[in-house]
Symmetry: C2
Subunit: 263 residues, 2 copies
């Protein structure tokens, strides 16, 4: 008999809050939206929100806290963004200063927390449609690349889009467009299919972030806007302080993936 | 021979800028997205953007200007929001102060312009699907009602959702859900079908805004979130200054309706 017990998001966050889940959140509370975290001082929040609004593919907003609050009122009203992520990174003036499991002590009245969609949701939809995902098969990180696609500038926030790549058959690529178009809040449809050079990627075997994966004969690389983009761009602004999740250690919301499908 | 010439958005805006179109924009540049305008001082802009983000059905964002700029860079980069609407309303401390055809003289460095989706786009989609629209047939304004549906609060912005109502056959109501779901950037799917009382509307023949329309035997009222909501709510905050379009005198973007369909 197969167990189909799934830890509820609320139980998962409680475990994380007690520091009893010191590892990546992939697979935890399967079927629920997991999100990237970016926390910025209020004086940068309007420009950053404008940037996300203008670049919804790399920066799909799931929720935003009131200034000073750690409560994501829409995504998980009983959660606290200051404690409910297993590992945080704290950047000061654009440099990684420390990693922590709780950021309550540095989250002051000035902080605004942004939850941004991540690719777990659309990857689950791809798998449900029988489309294999290479980096999951090869048990490594998705390969990510800087592109020559400029994001739309907003105030101090500007720079190139970062994309993730999943190789697949041409037939699967068409289905992948259909499947991921249903989820605009978690990056949505691909930004490019086919020739990496036309978006400024000259060595597909050398990703800028993550790991290289095998591209088989007859497969085409499919590129999606990546949630690393807003963090990379915010880092360039060198805010006095910025808090993010550590890669792979995501925030688990109360929202089911399917609730974010547009139709 | 029927003329199918359509004035381009750029030509339409030029005509408007020269004050040669002193009337509502419905039917002008057919097929292109028209938008509601709300202009607020920068110190309210973050809270208002947060409010729109949290209430995407009544407040679907099409574009936002940089502070001080009148250029909607995404929606119509060669346009100017200070001159390209046929009639503006200027509110001071929540009271209508004047109507103008040009607001260049009062649009200072502190102003942020918000373009919000309007129902023209989904009405065109309904008509294209053979669903008649009663207020168009009866040549009057769409009936609008305050509801008991509370918007999600953001800072000083809070209050009830305003909805518009279109009566139709039950069969058409199902198709209307499908058709309008494709357009989340212009209010999207209905918020309610059927019993007005369950959303706090006790006299369907007495709309709070707009005109009453005939509801025929066997028809069901279908309610959509309405772009009047953010203006009504902003007015409550009584900002020192707020500029809007006059009802029916919309901003015409360069974006085709179909480009805003999610799939």
């Amino acid at each position: 008999m197969t167990s189909n017990l799934i830890t509820s998001p609320s139980d998962a966050r409680e475990m994380i809050r007690q520091n009893n889940w010191p590892k990546p959140t992939s697979g935890l509370s399967n079927g629920f939206i997991q999100a990237n975290l970016a926390v910025l001082p209020k004086e940068l929040a309007f420009e950053f929100l404008l940037f996300c609004q203008r670049n919804p593919k790399p920066c799909p907003i799931i929720d935003i806290t009131d200034p000073g609050s750690g409560i994501p009122a829409l995504a998980a009203p009983d959660a606290d963004l200051r404690t409910d992520i297993p590992k945080y990174r704290v950047y000061r003036n654009g440099e990684l200063a420390e990693e922590k499991t709780d950021v309550s002590d540095i989250w002051d009245d000035n902080m605004v927390g942004f939850l941004l969609g991540c690719s777990f949701t659309f990857e689950e939809a791809l798998l449900n449609n029988g489309i294999p995902i290479r980096h999951i098969e090869e048990n490594c990180n998705v390969p990510m690349y800087k592109t020559n696609i400029e994001c739309v500038k907003a105030g101090r926030f500007e720079g190139p889009m970062v994309v993730s790549m999943r190789p697949m058959s041409e037939k699967d690529a068409i289905r992948a467009v259909q499947v991921t178009s249903r989820f605009p809040s978690v990056h949505g449809a691909p930004v490019h299919i086919g020739n990496p050079a036309s978006i400024g990627i000259y060595d597909i075997q050398n990703p800028d972030f993550g790991d290289r994966v095998t591209i088989k004969e007859g497969e085409v690389p499919v590129f999606w806007a990546c949630g690393v983009t807003p963090q990379a761009i915010a880092m360039h602004v060198k805010p006095e302080i910025m808090i993010t999740h550590a890669p792979g250690f995501m925030f688990i919301t109360d929202i089911k993936n399917e609730q974010y499908a547009v139709i």
